[in-house]
């Protein structure tokens, strides 16, 4: 395959994001299959020391520019577009995080190529890149060939273990220059996470509610179960969007990443955006009326049934057991 395999390293607020290492692990495999070097690209301002952490790549391109200090996707995309035109990579792997997805879509728009979305795996075979993409909220997967040059590919979190992409090897870093004009959009400030009544990332027991809980009043059933377990209630995006739970209780892409001892899921289908925030939970029990819900491929235990009936019964049994 002509051209290097690139991964776009994500650095945020002074740290390399974990997904960067996941992409390095995937990129390593794809580069091996393609017989091409793996190159990481890090864009930032005074962030050169972070480039040293990317030793799993054969080489690292680091562009330092004051305009890359703040998360302005247009600047990052313009810088990448300049480097792509100069270096002609075969593929550019972009983290599908809220931070980087806008860089990927603006970059693809600037280059006039598609942004291949929701990619959960990627391989190079016979000179082609074949991606496995998750569609319809996880209900289907498509094997897709991407023939655009370069192929800009958005990679879902969790694509490979983080540790697989870490390396003790010192990275070979090359400084590259980019020219950036004033962007259209201006970053003003960060708004920190709203202080919630509980920190769900610190709880051993979480009861997570989704669309299947149907009404705000039914949250009481989840609250009772959580209280009985000594934990807290959290939720997936639709419940937060409805205003039934505050932002501090959201698990998933925009919300928190949780790893409790027990994660009980009531009426959550298992869209990738939610799963990325809870998949490392030690014991996952999912209750859903849809036997085909993707969450049953993630959970350790599953129940096809009505959470509104099972939850109160479970709460009573646990109360009795605990005495």
């Amino acid at each position: 395959m002509a051209g290097n395999i690139w991964i776009v390293a994500e650095a945020w607020r002074g740290q390399v994001s974990e997904i960067t290492f996941e992409l390095l692990a995937l990129g390593r495999e794809v580069a091996g299959q393609a017989g091409a070097p793996l190159e990481a690209v890090l864009l930032g301002s005074n962030a050169r020391e972070l480039a040293q952490k990317l030793g799993a790549a054969d080489s690292v391109l680091y562009a330092d520019n004051a305009a890359l200090a703040d998360p302005v996707p247009e600047n990052f995309a313009t810088a990448l577009a300049q480097l792509i035109k100069e270096k002609q990579p075969a593929a550019v792997l972009v983290p599908l995080t809220n931070l980087s997805v806008d860089v990927g879509v603006v970059l693809a728009a600037q280059l006039g190529v598609p942004f291949l979305n929701y990619c959960k795996d990627l391989k190079a075979e016979g000179g082609n890149l074949t991606a496995t993409c998750v569609l319809y909220g996880g209900k289907m997967e498509a094997a897709v060939t991407a023939s655009a040059k370069p192929a800009i590919i958005g990679i879902l979190p969790g694509v490979r273990p983080v540790e697989q992409g870490r390396s003790d090897k010192a990275a070979t870093v090359t400084d590259v220059a980019v020219t950036l004009a004033a962007p259209k959009v201006h970053f003003k400030r960060y708004l920190e996470s709203e202080a919630g009544d509980v920190d769900i990332t610190q709880k051993d027991f979480l009861v997570a509610v989704g669309r299947g809980i149907q009404t705000k009043d039914n949250l009481d059933l989840a609250e009772d179960l959580a209280a009985t377990l000594g934990g807290a209630v959290c939720g997936s995006r639709p419940v937060i969007d409805q205003g039934w739970l505050g932002l501090s209780r959201q698990v998933g892409k925009s919300g928190m990443n949780v790893k409790p001892k027990l994660y009980v899921m009531l009426g959550i289908s298992g869209a990738p955006e939610h799963v990325e925030g809870m998949k490392s939970s030690q014991c996952i029990i999912a209750v859903n009326t849809d036997a085909a819900a993707p969450i049953f491929n993630v959970a350790h235990y599953g129940v096809v049934g009505d959470a509104l009936e099972i939850t109160p019964a479970l709460t009573e049994k646990i109360k009795a057991k605990k005495g």
Partner: protein
């Protein structure tokens, strides 16, 4: 303050989805569609801005079997005008949808000027791109995605964008701009069926012919299938009481209670 909202329908994943005879796309024979959830939020955000600042909210969609219901519902909620792009086969590619929307916006009299174009930041069938950024690129406008709040003043939209871990960012975006909406500031409003029926009687949906655009070709689906199950949950069966008993037992065995 005038706003154009781009909307599309997507398969309702509450229904069982099946792969069609070509092995590469969904079986559409029994497919039920609903408005893309994020587009519904884009509509709500537009209506909230109209409530505050006045102006007109115009809807633009691609024709689809259930689209009239979606449009009349939106009109009943407070949108002023609905336009659908007709003469297109089922559009399976976001790149193609972008071209159809982009060309239509540029060439249909009366759709521009607007202060904002709002659309959902993503959809569950967005395989080869997201709508908002390439439309902004075509128009030469500013773009921001994953937006959850919009305030308008003096040719500038101040928007809040979500990152991770509950952290958000505030941006100033010069208008006109295209915004990819993650969530509106309030849940999408409810509208009674009677009001939708009234909209069906009193309002009309305009149609425009689809512009000629080349279909996107650099992303090709080779095969579509239900996910291969690598690990499946151990299923617990029985009445709610029996299920509760069994869960209790396994929690005790794991030392969790």
């Amino acid at each position: 303050m005038d706003i154009l909202v781009l909307m599309k329908v997507v398969p309702d994943v509450v229904e069982e989805l099946e792969v069609g005879p070509d092995g590469k796309s969904l079986d559409t024979s029994f497919l039920r569609t609903i408005i893309n959830e994020r587009d519904d939020h884009a509509l709500e955000q537009a209506l909230l801005l109209k409530d505050k600042h006045g102006g007109k909210v115009t809807l633009l969609t691609l024709d689809a079997p259930d689209i009239d219901d979606v449009l009349f519902t939106a009109l009943a909620k407070g949108a002023d005008r609905a336009v659908k792009i007709c003469g297109v086969e089922s559009v399976q590619s976001t790149q193609t949808a972008v071209k159809l929307f982009g060309e239509t916006i540029a060439k249909t009299p009366g759709l521009l000027p607007v202060d904002l174009i709002l659309t959902g930041v993503s959809a569950i069938d967005d395989l080869d791109g997201l709508m908002a950024a390439p439309i902004a690129q075509q128009l030469g406008w500013a773009y921001t995605g994953v937006v959850t709040q919009v305030a308008l003043a003096d040719k500038t939209a101040t928007v809040i964008k979500e990152f991770a871990g509950g952290v958000r960012g505030e941006y100033e975006v010069p208008t006109p701009a295209v915004l990819g909406i993650q969530a509106a500031e309030k849940p999408p409003r409810y509208v009674p069926v009677a009001k939708v029926r009234a909209a069906m009687k009193s309002m009309t949906i305009e149609t425009v012919d689809a512009p000629a655009v080349e279909a996107a070709t650099t992303v090709e689906v080779q095969q579509m299938a239900k996910p291969q199950v690598t690990g499946h949950a151990e299923m617990i069966e029985g009445s709610p009481e029996e299920v509760a008993d069994k869960i209790c037992e396994l929690l005790a065995k794991r030392g969790l209670i």
